[in-house]
């Protein structure tokens, strides 16, 4: 097989971005509004949450080849660990953060214990089932005293607001505009993304990171040189899971209230799309993936709404339910096409993504 020459990847993607912006500008829709909404979402707190979650999932899926389809479960236990400790038990914020981290660690051990010795697809089934069990339990009647059931919990973010160092007033740049209270969790979110990326950068260049890649490529080979593959896979699951837990915590701190039905399996699938879009097993992939993903999804949503109010598409496609469905259709199609034609995403290396179930 002929090896392809390294391409100027950044230039190619900058070109794609220019074409997209040009199409938006030339279309008869309100291009400015679409662009504004898309940029706001792509740089906002939600994108930071997904970037953090994707960094964790990238450790599982990209570096180690673990099929964790219940990543949202880690976000759920992190978020509820925080919210229950602070709101239900009345403990301070730092205790809530510690409980959230501990909860995601325990979940990783519970999910990994029975499955990491088996073939990769068992982990996929058990993690997706585990995340759904957690959601059903948190929203169930008997758990209402602790988790607030379907009504959720509020008030746990006060401690976070209190340590906000930003002076009051408005902060705006280009098309976005935040109050000091809104900007604080967004800044913390992106700050954590930066720290997590640095951590991944250092870890994956260490001998530890090389063992993980080795497990992904050929677990038996790693075992044959005396490494305990099970233990390494468990460490990877714990580390990525705790990053998921942190993402869950910063998510519900931004939202101000927590609700079990925010933690649907779809969150995991969005995160997968982000990891693959950016490029699995790359450091910048999950971050750029999250920004591009939310730029496209939000731009598409706004464009559909605009198009239906101005009569370019039938009105029934413009209702909230239909816009939601179209958004998921777009993501599903994007995920499929990426996986078929460009499994290495924007920045990845294709030879690293020819994965089999070992």
């Amino acid at each position: 097989m002929k090896l392809s020459r390294p391409r100027p990847v950044m230039l190619v993607w900058a070109g794609v971005l220019l074409v997209v912006l040009g199409v938006i500008a030339l279309s008869p829709l309100d291009g400015q509004r679409i662009l504004r909404e898309a940029v706001r979402t792509a740089t906002g707190g939600n994108a930071a949450v997904y970037a953090l979650a994707a960094i964790g999932l990238n450790i599982h899926f990209g570096y180690t080849g673990l099929l964790n389809f219940g990543h949202v479960g880690f976000m759920l236990v992190g978020a509820y660990g925080l919210a229950i400790t602070v709101s239900t038990l009345g403990a301070p914020l730092w205790a809530g953060v510690l409980v959230g981290l501990a909860a995601s660690l325990v979940l990783a051990l519970l999910l990994g214990g029975p499955t990491l010795r088996l073939r990769a697809d068992y982990l996929a089934i058990v993690t997706i089932a585990g995340a759904e069990i957690l959601r059903h339990v948190t929203r169930s009647g008997p758990a209402t005293d602790v988790t607030g059931g379907v009504f959720g919990l509020t008030g746990y973010a006060r401690g976070f607001d209190r340590i906000n160092p930003l002076p009051g007033g408005r902060y705006g740049f280009w098309v976005v505009d935040y109050s000091a209270r809104q900007l604080w969790p967004v800044l913390v979110g992106w700050g954590l993304v930066l720290l997590a990326s640095l951590l991944v950068f250092m870890l994956t260049r260490s001998p530890w990171g090389r063992v993980l890649r080795g497990i992904r490529e050929d677990e038996d080979a790693v075992r044959s040189i005396g490494k305990n593959a099970y233990s390494y896979k468990m460490q990877s699951l714990v580390l990525g899971g705790m990053l998921g837990g942190i993402a869950g915590m910063i998510w519900v701190v931004q939202l101000g209230s927590i609700d079990p039905d925010a933690f649907l399996p779809m969150v995991t699938f969005f995160t997968y799309t982000i990891v693959i879009l950016g490029g699995p097993a790359t450091v910048v992939g999950p971050v750029v993936g999250a920004v591009v993903f939310w730029f496209v999804v939000q731009g598409f949503d706004t464009a559909i709404r605009e198009a239906s109010t101005s009569g370019y598409v039938p009105a029934f496609l413009g209702g909230p339910e239909a816009v939601g469905a179209l958004r998921f259709l777009l993501v599903g199609a994007g995920l499929m096409l990426l996986m078929i034609y460009r499994p290495e995403g924007m920045f990845g290396n294709r030879r690293e993504m020819q994965l089999d179930v070992g």
């Binding site: 068992y122 996929a124 997706i128 585990g130 069990i133 399996p265 259709l329 996986m339 078929i340």
Partner: protein, 382 residues
């Protein structure tokens, strides 16, 4: 009481707190009320109107919420008196067992396809649940709109389209991808993308509300020994049993069935023994699609048709397939029935909103102690 009808009991029906109407039970203990339109209602039993010595069995169940859409009937049952504890326990157990078998047979039927596809291609197909919803939706569209077909012919068409969908996905997507030597993990993620597409196309077509079929929605219950059931549920049980036995015979006795088991068992060995593996896989996909569609129609009959029904069932199918042993057809059947019984019997001891949890926990326990499943063999789990 003791099966005697209660006459002259008042029931108040309200919507959003506003009273819509009042009905009084007749000499047969029944009552009817016409409602002004679609929506969510609550029926409250006026406990003051009950005869001396009669009380509602469960005070929380004196108000029953329900939804209705135009042209539809709803049956509400209030329960009175307390039964002797032992009899009541046995009766509830028997009732849960019958419900569990009904549900388990449907899960078993849909899980066979998931398991055989896995056995022959090593693909864990996350879109299988949405193939279930697809079958239910095709029957719903034919039954309630357009041609207004009766449910049985509508179901037959749905099963045929399910088979076509399965075969179409195999020849249009999975076979070309196998030719390109796409990795199994990639295929798995592709099946998730495909599931998202299918599910949301279904949502666009039929909307987010659960919808019933026109036929067989309201039926007078029949009593079989200790169990209260409906002719509809008995037919569902009978149809599922016949289909499962038929599939079993097909796998054991016919040439194509033996070829399917051979490919699932050892693909290379089957190929070198002269089995046309690609043809067998196509047949497996068509059968998986047909069984998923039939399961969807039956599930729609006993519950409602909803866009998320297949995804919910998928987790139970996974539990069934792992319980029985990934890749084996008979394991999926056994696992499905165990899952059905476990979910329904758990409702006696636990809140019913947690019933799927017990099936999933059973799956995790089996993975811990016997990862190859009840009927699986050790070498499959590598």
């Amino acid at each position: 009481m003791d099966g005697e009808p209660l006459q002259g009991v008042r029931v108040v029906v309200s919507r959003d707190g506003d009273r819509v109407g009042t009905a009084t039970s007749g000499p047969d203990g029944g009552w009817r009320l016409a409602l002004p339109g679609d929506g969510a209602y609550e029926a409250t039993l006026d406990q003051a109107s009950l005869p001396e010595g009669v009380a509602v069995r469960d005070a929380e169940r004196a108000t029953l919420p329900f939804t209705v859409s135009s042209g539809q009937q709803r049956t509400l049952v209030f329960s009175f008196g307390d039964e002797p504890a032992a009899v009541s326990y046995l009766r509830r157990m028997a009732q849960a067992a019958v419900n569990g078998i009904k549900f388990g047979l449907i899960i078993a039927m849909t899980a066979i396809g998931l398991s055989l596809v896995y056995g022959t291609t090593r693909l864990v197909n996350f879109a299988h649940g949405d193939m279930v919803t697809f079958g239910a939706m095709v029957a719903l569209l034919l039954n309630t709109s357009g041609p207004s077909l009766q449910l049985i012919p509508a179901g037959v068409v749905a099963v045929a389209s399910g088979a076509a969908l399965g075969a179409g996905m195999e020849s249009g997507l999975w076979r070309p991808l196998r030719r390109r030597r796409t990795g199994l993990i990639q295929l798995l993620v592709i099946s998730i993308g495909l599931a998202m597409i299918l599910r949301h196309v279904i949502l666009l077509i039929m909307g987010g509300r659960p919808r019933p079929y026109h036929d067989y929605t309201v039926q007078a219950p029949v009593r079989l020994g200790p169990v209260l059931t409906t002719p509809r549920d008995l037919v569902v049980i009978a149809v599922s049993t016949v289909v499962l036995v038929g599939i079993g015979l097909l796998l054991l006795r016919t040439r194509i069935g033996r070829a399917m088991r051979a490919v699932a068992d050892n693909r290379d060995l089957a190929a070198s023994s002269g089995v046309d593996v690609q043809r067998v896989i196509l047949f497996v996909w068509a059968m998986a699609g047909a069984l998923a569609a039939l399961g969807g129609v039956l599930l729609g009959v006993v519950e409602n048709v909803e866009w998320l029904m297949g995804f919910r069932a998928l987790l139970l199918m996974f539990a069934a397939v792992i319980l029985g042993g990934l890749g084996t057809a008979f394991g999926a059947m056994a696992g499905g029935i165990v899952v059905g019984l476990a979910t329904e019997i758990s409702t006696i001891f636990q809140p019913s909103e947690l019933k799927t949890m017990w099936a999933l926990i059973a799956m995790v326990v089996v993975l811990l102690v016997r990862p190859q499943g009840i009927l699986g063999r050790r070498e499959r789990i590598g």
